[in-house]
Symmetry: C2
Subunit: 236 residues, 2 copies
DNA sequence: CGGTTTTTTGACAGTGTTCAAGTCCCGTGG
DNA sequence: CCACGGGACTTGAACACTGTCAAAAAACCG
């Protein structure tokens, strides 16, 4: 018996739902997005969506799957800088002719579409808010790495991912699909996979999470939030 | 005998020079900035320029002095998220009615002015590029905290500060004014001040830096860059 | 089933923190 | 002019957290 399809494949409605959740979208914006959805692009896992130093052709809206910005350090280790989830935007720079300042890689198979080049003020505002959210996620990542210990980093990240996925309708009741290996999570948290594994086991013993089969279930989230001082982001 | 004035107080020409260095400014943009400069605002050290959760009235251009975004964690420790230097912009959100998502505090006495609300395409582009640079600095901070050890974090940060100050004409020949205590630097690097102090001493013994009297002088910068894998940021 | 990737375990080394005390520097007030 | 006080820097010893290395167990994939 195979595992049931882990990701809801719904051709972008979740992604648009997320944009609509962070900013009003009028009929014009929705029509632009619907058109864009007719040209989905499938990217296999491990392929780069954006390469550092390359020009950005067009911002991309992630319809399905997980991607991440990352940077390699000379000694071969890598740091995941931020995750990019369905409904979020890759290459959202706010000005013309930009060069990518980091590499974005598909962590799972990813479906994207080109983001309509403006025209709609509502859509532009959604992009601006999405960009501001990206920035708050980056700041949260800095605080995580700078001032939380390994156990706290894990919980804090999981809470953030839950909230971000929930805004796209991809998480509820403390549960969400987490299609990542422990090694990838470790690379995001600035830890070794060995140590991350110990933190995961510790969290399991405490009843803070159940993680099996790409499926994450968080325990008492209010309690978890308080225990790591996690705050929910809002920009507008 | 008192210490000579450590900061060039020049009423904003350095700040405008930095904006002009990252994007062309036409006569219109320069005129707008000149007008803005006539209303400088002095902010004493330790005062907040922006408070988390408060509305942002207008983006501010830093003319002189150092500020930083920071966040406090419940146990009382703090993390400096990013530094804000002359010529850089506070509250540069790219959309209307935003709420600050972090606290910005003056690390020294700071002089700011309100940034003219658009009108000039050149100025808008400069703001967009400045925003993109802010993002690359945040990403660099994530990599620093996630994948560099204490000694490397220190050198990598100093190299970044040097390059940022140099683009405003405030650093050259490996030297710049660093009006920060070791404790503040430690808070930026996710270290304790005790450990940062040990790293500073180690760097001194190696001849990597001379730091006295708010004055920083870096040793062989090409060598330092290679030793920590530091890359110089460019976005356009 | 066989090879590969991912997770798990153990012993040990190393990096960074904590706590506590001491020093240096500088501005203030007697 | 010097004593005082506070902040910043420095030092040491003990300790905690995280990394390293190596290997085994488990899960996954074709």
């Amino acid at each position: 018996m195979t595992r049931p399809d882990p990701l809801p494949r719904d051709n972008g409605s979740r992604a648009i739902g997320r944009l609509a959740a962070i900013a009003d979208l009028d009929a014009e914006a929705l029509a632009l997005l619907d058109t864009a959805l007719t040209n989905p692009i499938m990217v296999p896992a491990r392929r780069e969506l954006l390469s550092e130093g390359r020009r950005i052709i067009s911002p991309l809206l992630v319809l399905d799957g997980w991607a991440a910005r990352m940077r390699l350090v000379p000694d071969g280790r890598r740091q995941l800088i931020s995750f990019i989830l369905p409904g979020e935007i890759v290459g959202n720079c706010g000005f013309e002719a930009p060069v990518a300042t980091s590499t974005v890689v598909a962590l799972t198979q990813v479906t994207v579409c080109q983001l309509p080049r403006s025209g709609s003020p509502h859509l532009e505002r959604a992009c601006a808010i999405s960009r501001a959210l990206d920035e708050t996620y980056l700041m949260a990542q800095v605080v995580r790495l700078g001032r939380l210990n390994a156990a706290e980093r894990l919980i804090d990240l999981l809470l953030e991912l839950y909230e971000r996925l929930a805004s796209a309708g991809l998480a509820s009741g403390g549960r969400f699909d987490l299609p990542l290996t422990q090694e990838v999570v470790a690379d995001a948290l600035g830890l070794t996979s060995v140590h991350l594994n110990r933190m995961v086991q510790q969290a399991r013993k405490r009843g803070d999470l159940v993680w099996a089969d790409r499926n994450m279930r968080l325990g008492d989230m209010d309690h978890l939030r308080r225990s790591v001082g996690h705050e929910i982001c809002k920009v507008a």
